[in-house]
Symmetry: D3
Subunit: 241 residues, 6 copies
């Protein structure tokens, strides 16, 4: 029987994510599904965007588990709603922010994020503190490009990401690069090429592929999140959700 | 002209908070106002509760600023929505969790939280890490009482809080006690009395009074949050909020 | 009845601090008083200066409490004598170093000090470690100007402080600026103006106003320091003090 | 074409590890291979044991890559030789100590190790510091049983592990349990059962299954270790190896 | 030519320290000298005591250098005046608190202090933070005995210290014990004996012998403190010192 | 009776270290002895080199103790084999990496390493984490010169070290410099001269002299490593060592 990994893209914008993006990882043993939000922001670039993305992300997560998913992946580097989702379902819920940071820490001594805009830096820093990896993350560098512009000129995007990665390696001492927005999916190859040309053989993490395959590994070994950390919500009156 | 501090209690339950609670601190120079949520949970005891409290907290915060408030205080120790609120308004937005932790760190070498239920402990620990005070917080102890039961037998509540405080002092080395739920407002005095009886002269922080007066101090000196950390959200399409 | 906040300027130099400096914060409910030292240094710029400022600061603190003060503020960013003073009196004793660091941590993600001379940097770093905020303080930058020269050309001073602040923001990632010497009182406005002109909307903390109003807040809510951390000295023979 | 994961058990003792142990994870796409050492200790319980296990572990690692392996897993929680192995090959080299710590940190807020004897505790603590996870690991508890005795009375072993796990959860605040010796492979189920009986729904990590499947995920997404952290050794004269 | 190490006991009480105490370490190459204070406390057990000990400690330190000392050792675990003394002289100034913590960290993975009274704990914790060793110090335990009573019943003192050491080892995980008051000089042997009887082979650091011999080592290799950290005080008007 | 300190240079290359190097510290009370390895690398510049240096270092350490040594010093900044050596002997075993870091932390607020090649940086960083001094070490700078080339043009080496030291002081804020390879023995003087010329009065630690004299101090006061951290290996079958 096939494993089902359900990807929730926690925004309302169509056309940014499709199952094509993870098709190379699908097999007869691994099926991918996908949801967008009905209510929320068109992209996530600050705390406010994240706050209004979370309630519907939770709803989609519950639906996905009921529809048979074996694991959930939230498709945003800020991991919006990851913690409340873990409270409301029993299957693993992975965020690419958390997963990438831990894997980056395993692949080299220090890592850097290269990401979209200044506004996300304080959020990434806070995640690193909560995940316990602040000491391993030496910098976050931005290419100053809003999420919804990433694909307008993908070559320009890749070039800017490669520049930011080079600075992270040379000036900040990064040993591993993490693409700091899931909208950069597919950009790793060009960056690696450029880094190699400059003499640097460092891994560049493309978070969604890594996170879905990590979810797959957790399903295989039967592990899910601790209900001691993520206890189910108590029954109580709620209005509007 | 009088300062206006607006308190947002980020739940839908009436009767738990009233302006009576802060009346002793009001004066001709300091007016308090108050909002409850229209949409959200009846109490906040886990990540899920918090997630669905945040959107309407933000809405109430914007309204309060438009109605002339000089500062906002969010009435919950988890500081739900504090960060996105700081992005959408220009006045100071204070959370009693953050304020109490920093003040506790100033009043003694180590502090402990005494709070309601196990479910809030991971959230408090995460806040301490983000605020940079994890090293100063030596423990969180719970009295195993849901928020909405606190006032059913207030003497019992106070007794249990005093017991938990004693354990925090004796076993965990706490020098300062923080009441870890704003629903405990008014309980400090009895606890202090009991601690003194046992030979301990340690401060017990009642978070809402301390937070509103800290907000008042910030208004007096003209300080508000950094727009470099809390930049206004970019204009973008949003559905449902 | 009016609160009394007593400011001790822990040096012997007259004319640097007067009650005029805090007059805007005085009211019928809040009276300020002030002491200079009889014995000590003319300014504080290193560990030695601090060491010989402390004994008379303690003496002035005891006198102030006996004269009816409700709180003490020590007027130096190194917080000289703050800890022993807390042992010998029962009222709150605040240092602007500690208070500013905690408040800066609340106003933005990272803060920097801009201060007088290199000699004070190790002392500030040590305070940040003791107060638990080393991780939040990203840098200290100096304008290379001894304390007693600050007022000789106040415009020059402000200009240099603005330059140092810009560097802290741009190169060190500061979100909040703390004026690292209480002799800079009144300089915040010009710096904020300059920072805004350069596109940065970040708070600049003027420590003495913030610290006296924080002291006022503590008096209002009836909090003082933990006697578990700051127990009264045991009775013993002392010579010379 | 099938992925090949090569497991090196860094001791000389036969009969402790066989490919049966990971057979449930093998498939037409995933082949496992295995080596023991020719030279080294019969078990690893201290720094000395580890020191004499490393040289032949490196040799076996080079052989495995030459024989076509896509990833190496070192079968000991102390991760002996993991770092030098990463220098001498180009494929991913995973240690179950590092992998389990990072995964444990993702599954809950705090984790504990339950392991064999006191002698390994300083080594585990040092690994946690190097991996950056010391803050997430709340304790290591031992069952006081040498590695080579684990299988003599496997029920006794499981019972003792369950006891140690309960203490870690109740007294140390663990949210996740990590089996701290790869010799415990297969013991997780009984421990989980006992913990559930006591009311605790926490994950128990069996390191080898988790580590091999994490290696599989890294192979799938094409990631390997940073050559900036793990540069190939310079050519030089070596005697005896 | 003989090295001269000058010990300053920063209290006014005669009869507690004599050169007999370090006589076993003297030789034709190593001479010890000693000063008591003229002005200061009779013992040091809190911040206040320390504050009034520092000015005369500095004076004695300057005198000792002028009289030809090659290094200074301050005879109190709180290292009172160590930092200002380093500013005013060019020879090494060592504190037994700092020296013992660093050496303890070299001798085992974690260390504990066993000391006199509760009042010194916050001071020791602050030193550990400044020295960077807070993570290595797992506890401080007290025998509840004022400094001036230590020698009244030295057997009782040693017994209590052994008890506290055992608790530190068993309950706090200490690998090394530091005698947390220099008044315990000579007590290590009895404690070691007791610990060995209980099955623990752990070092017990007697701070003054260790610190004087470390000072001797620094003299031999020609190292002294960084004038970048401890710059000489600027010339300025001082009253009373 | 004379103390014997045995220096093990954990490589096979003759002519790099001789007892001449420490002759100035020898006396009638202090004898030095020396071993090279029979099996191992010609120099140590990465994890692999270190791994194959350790087994024979342990063997030489056991031999040295049996031959009457009172302490062992391992002559490499990576402290290869220091921990297993402490398990197999009862006398103090010191590494110059650990000793220099702790002493550097005592001599100034922050220190930097100046060392040979990039490959050793991750190893030094890991040591700093294990020793608890990562916060005190602000940088490691390399002169890009393999160990075996150091003496080819010793003036060039010293010049490059002085340059790297200046950068560490000016750009990284170092207060103390540590020579990050024991092959630099004797280079400190020229660097100090250059730093003074540039206006910096900071200590430059030459690790071997400092470490042998620290070992001497430990012998004098009768301290050795904790057998609780470094318990003797259990008896077990070993092949090849």
């Amino acid at each position: 029987m096939s494993k089902i990994i359900h990807i929730i893209t926690p925004i309302i914008t169509e056309g940014i994510r499709s199952l094509e993006d993870v098709a190379p990882f699908a097999s007869e043993n691994l099926e991918f599904r996908h949801s967008l939000l009905d209510r929320g922001p068109s992209s996530i670039e600050c705390e406010y965007d994240e706050a209004i993305a979370v309630p519907d992300t939770i709803a989609k997560c519950i639906e996905a588990e009921q529809a048979g998913a074996d694991a959930i992946v939230i498709d945003c580097m800020g991991d919006p709603g990851m913690k409340p989702c873990r409270e409301v379902v029993s299957i693993p819920v992975l965020g690419p922010g958390e997963t990438s940071m831990h894997m980056a820490a395993m692949l080299g001594q220090k890592f850097s994020f290269v990401t979209v805009v200044d506004g996300v830096i304080p959020m990434i820093n806070n995640l690193a503190k909560i995940y316990g990896l602040a000491e391993k993350m030496v910098s976050s560098r931005v290419i100053d490009m809003p999420v919804l512009n990433i694909e307008q000129d993908i070559e320009k995007t890749q070039e800017k990401l490669a520049e930011a990665s080079l600075e992270a390696i040379r000036d900040d001492g990064a040993d591993v690069i993490v693409l700091g927005c899931t909208g950069f999916l597919g950009c790793a190859e060009k960056i690696i090429e450029r880094l190699k040309f400059e003499g640097y053989d460092v891994p560049v993490i493309d978070p969604i592929p890594l996170t879905v395959m990590t979810a797959s590994a957790l399903i295989d070994v039967g592990l899910t999140h601790s209900k001691k950390t993520y206890a189910p919500p108590r029954d109580k009156v709620v209005v509007g959700y």
